[in-house]
Amino acid sequence: MSFEQILFYVFAAILVFSASMVISVRNSVHAILFLVLAFFTSAALWLMLEAEFLAITLVLVYVGAVMVLFLFVVMMLDIKTATMREGFARYLPVGIIVALLTVAVMALAVGQRHFGLEQMPAPIPHGADYSNTRELGLLLYTTYVYPFEIAAVILLVAIVAAIALTLRQRGSSKSQNVPDQVAVRRNDRVRLVQMDAEKRK
């Protein structure tokens, strides 16, 4: 077994372990931490596939931003673990069947027959001066420029829509008026008074 293979199996084992801990651990904050570990190990697997840009972006976007917001929300929730685990045994058979079906479908779709080494031979490793980022950028901004731009615009629309849906002005809420605060001058607030010293009695 080569060094790469050992690395692959170590990362894969950690990934499967942390993914199963995400759904089985009782504490929801612990579950999120295992999800972070799962993202991190999958980034390591992507690195081994020579997808450095995607691997680092996975860490940057999912671990660095999305999961932080998840933690932010989950830490403030008051989840009763007892009620959450109700019916675990009842739904277990259904869950197992669905899981097995999914595994079977995936094995059929991405198994040896379509993605074996004959159909998909391992690509030749690139030299040290090969820049993954540069190649990706060249593709995105030439061949796929329209899909890329359209996706960006859709995301922008989603941001605007999310803000428009949730932003509401309540009359009762109090907030600072920032332009007023910035416009304040010293003379509005402070008055220097010149007073003569009083004589000691």
Binding site: F3, N27, V29, H30, L33, V36, E52, F53, I56, T57, V59, L60, V63, G64, A65, V68, L69, L71, F72, M75, M76, D129, S131, N132, T133, S175, Q176, V178
Partner: protein
Amino acid sequence: MIEMLQTLVMWDSWPTVLQTLVVIMLKIVAIIAPLMVAVAYLTYAERKIIGYMQVRIGPNRVGPRGWLQPIADAVKLMFKEIVIPSGADKKVFLIAPVLAMAPALAMWAVIPFNDTLVLADINASLLYVLAIGSMGVYGIILAGWASNSKYAFLGAMRSAAQMVSYEIAMGFALVGVLMAAGSLNLGEIVRAQQGEWGLFSWYWLPLLPLLGVYFISGLAETNRAPFDLAEGESEIVAGFHVDYSGTTFAVFFMAEYANMIIIGVLSSLLFLGGWLSPFQGWTDSWLGEPSLFWLAAKTSFFLFLFLWFRATFPRYRYDQLMRLGWKVFIPLTIVWLVLIGAAIMAGLEPWFGKA
């Protein structure tokens, strides 16, 4: 001497994997050990500089002029008891300081110290720095949550929102640099700033607003004054590390200072030409040569700014902090990116003419 050591341990008979591993480990030690000394003396410098700014002397009792003060502090913290609050989540409570420290150290892997001196010269090192840097927030959030204390929790919440907000502005500032240099490799970025105009061919001049945004976002990312709302001594006692003591507290403390040094080094690499000399071509002495000295000098300058700001500015209010990040910095960086794009297309000398 190295050859003697090599024959002594029969170096050639070791397997190649082991040889590589040992060499890398030694390189890591060669980076981390000076870093720890720098962290220790940064705390001393902070207390001295702020002391003089407030017309007092600062630490002057331990050793000559107080030079042994950081060592005394380290020994004191190591011998203190580690108290774990009874309601705390013990595992997460103990992992949190490690998660704060690890990213601060992992970032040094890709930092180039001069033209050839770098541990891992990867071609997306700027992206790596950004990704690893964004993980530092976990230590703080988890510390606040695991302590099972209201003050610590409030500190963690503030820190999470603040770091996620300022990361965006910071990322945009870095986009400007990588547009100008045309590379994500930190070494390449420094080499792209080389030019006959000496210090005026560095990126601080065309990217001045981005330098400001980057450094101020760096202050916010490291939770330093005036953005130290996560600690906020006057409001929430000490924020996320209120329940930490002894070594666990020391690790948080070291992580904060190691992050400050990282921000200083990155600012000098990205905007001030890293190891390049400001007097290049003006003098024939060693001052005109690019060297590690210049990187250290520029980093020290930025670290001095950190301390200076702490002694000067009062703490931001939370809504002001958010406003500055979202409504001032992000639009400013976006506008400047468009301007840089135009300058690059026009081939503005001396910065963008080469490409």
